[in-house]
Amino acid sequence: MAWDYPEKLREVAANPRFIESEVGLLRLIEGDGKLKSALASGDLIAAKRDIDKERTLYIGSYGSPACGDYMTLFLLVNNPTNSVEKISYDNYGCTSSIGASEMGARLIDKIKQFEGGVFQKREEKGQFQLEPLILNSGILRELSDVDESGRVIKSVPKEKHHCSVMFEQALRNLLKALTHGDIYGSLLSEDQKCMIDEVDGPLVCHCFDVHEKTITRLFQSIDKELHELMARGESDLRPDDKEGIVKYFHERVQESTKAGGACGKCHYDRSPSIEALILREFPNYNPKGDDKVVVRAEHKEEKPYFALPFFDRVKLIQEAIDTFVRPSLQRDGGDIELVSLEGDTVKVALTGACATCAASSVTMAYGVQQILREHVYKRLDVEHIG
C-alpha cells in the first residue's frame, strides 16, 4: 500500500546530508580490517576508536536487512570540547526509515554538545546509565508537517513509527561503546550480555530483538495518548475494560517497535511476555479518570491467567480439574487426564468408565469447559481426545 507521508519527511529523505559514504568518517580508521568486516557482515553492535589525542569515533548499529531495516550511526567526538565534530550514518530501509535517520543526524548536528546534548548521565541504583536525549518522539515530531501556528497537520503514519525507532536504538547501542567498548553480536561475552540485559532489560521479542526496557519506555506516552483519546471521546475503550486496554497497549507497542510482529510467541508464551509487562506496569485502571488514566503498580499483584507463563497456566488448569471435575468423575468409576494446552485449547482425555461412552465424552468436555471458563479463564476451549 502507498503510505501518506508528510511532505517534510519526503523532503528530508530525498536530500540526505549525512550519508557515511559521502561524509567518510570511516576513512579515519582505514586500516581497521576487523571493524570493517564486522560492519559489512552486520555483526557490529557498538565500537569506539580513538583517532588522535582529542578525538574519538563512536559507532552504533541496530537492525538487520533481513528484518527490513538496518542502521549504523557514526559520531566523531572532540573530547576536550565535549562536542560532536561530525556525524554520519548508513541506512538500509524504507523512505520513513531514511527520513528518521537523517532527521536524527540533523538534530545532533544542530545540538553539537555530546554529554548533556546527545545523552545524559543518570544515576540508577548507584550506577551511571547513559540515556539518549534524541528520542523517537522528537524525531517523529520534527518529521511532521506543521502549519504556520505550529499545529501538526500531517504526521508520519502510525504503521511506520517502528521505522523511526532505528535511530534511537542505534544511538543507545552507540552509547554502550562509551562504557563497554566494542560489542560484536556473534562474540558477545557473558559480561556484555549481562550489561545489555542491565541497560535494556531481558530480551522479549526474539524475532526483532526488542528488549524489555524498550517496550516499557513506551508505556508512558501510550498511556498519555490513550488518556487524551478517551477524554475526547474518540476511543471506545472504557477504563474498566482491562483486556481492551491491554490490547490497545500491545498494538501500539507493536507499531512502535515491531515487537511481536513475527512469530507472536512473545505475546503470551515467553517470560517476560508483552502482556505481562503491560500488566506489571499498569495492573489497575483508574475509573475516575484522574491525571493519569492508568495507575502504576504500588506492589506486586496476582497476575491474571493470560499473563502467566505457560507452566503456571497449566498448573491453574490442573488445579481446577483436580478440585472441581475429578471427584465427581471418580464417583462414577471414571477419570480425567489433562493432555495438553495449545493456545486457549485444553485437551483432555477421559478414562475408565467414561471413556467407552461416546455421547458422555462430548457432554463431559462441554461440562469441563464450563467449569474451566468459570474458574480459570473465560476464553478456554476444551476438546476431548479419545
Partner: protein, 406 residues
C-alpha cells in the same frame, strides 16, 4: 463522488504492475457503458428488454472458455478469483468424503487463508514446498497423496515470480484418481495458452481485471464429471457458495452483473485476438532484465530458470530496500511492486520468496515488474534510464557499495 486527479502531478505514468491489476481496454469500457446506460435490464426478467440480455452471458461464456478450451455451459460467473477460490475449496470439501487437501506454500492468500479456515473446521491440509525456482514438484505431490485426499489446489502461475507450475503433469497424474484438481489461473489466463481438457483441470478460477477486463468479475469453470479409467464417469460434486435466486442454475446467486460480464467477454475476446502479442511482451521483459543485469551490479533474478509468465520479472537489488525503490520510482511515475516487509501493513515478508528460501537479507530488496501488451519499448528505456541511478543512491545510503568495494 467526483473524479479526483492523481494527487501527485506527474507528466507520465509508466505502469509495470500488471500482475496487480491492468488497465481496462477502452473497447471493454465502451461495451460496459452500453450495458449500464442503454440495455440495462435484468437478464432474469420475463420481458424482452431484460430477458434477451442472456445473449450477453452466452457470448461472454463462449469468449472466455475459448481461452482455456473449456465448455461454455460449465462456466459460472463470480465476483472475481477470490470468490471463485473460496467457492472451489469450500464447495468441494463440504461434499468430499476424505478430509485431506493438498496445496502449495506459494498460493494466493485467497487459497491459503481458506485452507487455514478449513483446518480449524477439522480438515487436514498439506502445504507442498517449492524448489528454489519457486515451482511445485510433482514427486512431492505424489508423495503426499493419501487415501483420504479429496482436493488438490495448485495455482497455474505464481503472481510474484511468474513461475508456471507443472499443471499438465499434475493433471495427468490425478486424472485416474477420485481427487478433484483445482487450479487458480488468475495470473495465467490471457497471458499464456491453457487447456483444461488436455491438462485435466477440473476446477479453474480466474479474474477479468488481470487481462484488461473490469474489476469485480471473474469465474469458476467446473468440469461436471471425470472419466476414471474403466467404469462410469465420476461426478464432481460441489455445493454452491453464495446462495440466492435461481441465477446460474442455483449454483451462484445474485443478479447477473451484465455490464461486467459483457466487459469480461470483450476482454477475453481481445486477449484471444492479441495472444500473439505475448512474444513481444516477452521480448521487452527480456530486454528489461538484460539491461538491468548489465547496468546494476549484483542483481539476482528470481525463477529465472523456471518456465515463467512472459510478462513478469522479479528482481533482487541487494543493498537497496524495496519500499524505498518503489517510492522513488513512483516519484517519477514508474509503478512497480515489492515484497518488502515495510510495504505491508502486517510487516511480514513475502511468503512466496520465503518458501523459495531466498536469502532473508535479500527478501526486502525485491522488486516485481509486470508488463502488459500496452508496455512500449520506450517505457522500458525510461525505466532503464532511471532505475540504476536510484539503486546506486540507495546503495550509497546503506553503505553497500562501500562495503562491497572493500
Amino acid at each position: 463522488m467526483v473524479i479526483r486527479k492523481y494527487s501527485r502531478p506527474i507528466e507520465k505514468i509508466v505502469y509495470m504492475d500488471n500482475n496487480a491489476t491492468t488497465r481496462a481496454d477502452p473497447l471493454v469500457a465502451e461495451v460496459m457503458v452500453h450495458y449500464l446506460t442503454e440495455e440495462y435490464g435484468n437478464s432474469e426478467s420475463v420481458h424482452h428488454f431484460g430477458g434477451d440480455l442472456r445473449y450477453v452471458e452466452d457470448d461472454a461464456r463462449e469468449n472466455v472458455t475459448r481461452l482455456f478450451n473449456g465448455n461454455p455451459a460449465n462456466l459460472y460467473f463470480t465476483s472475481g478469483a477470490t470468490e471463485a477460490n473460496n467457492w472451489a475449496l469450500r464447495g468441494v470439501m463440504k461434499r468430499a468424503k476424505g478430509k485431506h487437501i493438498i496445496t502449495s506454500t506459494v498460493e494466493h492468500p485467497s487459497v491459503l487463508n481458506v485452507c487455514k479456515q478449513l483446518e480449524l473446521d477439522g480438515y487436514q491440509v498439506t502445504y507442498l514446498p517449492v524448489t528454489m525456482e519457486g515451482v511445485v514438484e510433482l514427486d512431492a505431490l505424489i508423495a503426499s497423496v493419501r487415501e483420504d485426499t479429496s482436493l488438490v489446489s495448485i495455482m497455474y502461475a505464481n503472481n510474484e515470480t511468474g513461475a508456471i507450475m507443472p499443471i499438465a503433469d499434475i493433471g495427468n497424474y490425478l486424472k485416474d484418481k477420485k481427487i478433484i484438481f483445482h487450479s487458480d489461473a488468475t495470473q495465467a489466463l490471457g497471458k499464456i495458452s491453457l487447456d483444461v481438457v488436455a491438462e485435466h483441470i477440473d476446477l479453474l478460477s480466474f479474474s477479468a481485471h488481470k487481462f484488461h477486463g473490469p474489476k469485480g468479475i471473474g469465474g469458476l469453470h467446473i468440469a461436471p464429471r471425470k472419466r476414471i479409467a474403466e467404469g462410469a464417469p465420476w461426478r464432481i460434486e460441489i455445493t454452491p457458495f453464495i446462495l440466492g435466486g435461481e441465477q446460474q442454475d442455483y449454483m451462484r446467486g445474485g443478479t447477473m452483473n451484465i455490464p461486467s460480464i459483457a466487459g469480461l467477454g470483450k476482454a477475453a475476446e481481445l486477449a484471444y485476438l492479441h495472444s500473439g502479442d505475448s512474444n513481444q511482451v516477452e521480448k521487452l521483459r527480456n530486454l528489461l532484465e538484460q539491461s538491468i543485469s548489465e547496468q546494476v551490479p549484483g542483481v539476482i533474478i528470481n525463477s529465472q530458470n523456471a518456465r515463467r509468465l512472459p510478462n513478469t520479472t522479479n528482481i533482487i537489488f541487494p543493498g537497496a530496500e524495496g519500499e524505498s525503490i518503489v517510492d522513488r520510482l513512483s516519484e517519477i511515475g514508474i509503478c512497480v511492486s515489492t515484497g518488502s516487509a515495510c510495504s505491508s501493513k502486517s510487516l511480514t515478508i513475502s511468503h512466496v520468496l520465503d518458501a523459495m528460501k531466498v536469502e532473508p537479507s535479500c527478501i526486502n530488496s525485491v522488486i516485481r515488474f509486470s508488463l502488459s501488451r500496452y508496455t512500449s519499448e520506450e517505457e522500458i528505456k525510461y525505466v532503464i534510464h532511471n532505475l540504476p541511478k536510484i539503486i546506486e543512491k540507495l546503495r550509497n545510503y546503506s553503505g553497500y557499495t562501500r562495503k562491497r568495494g572493500g
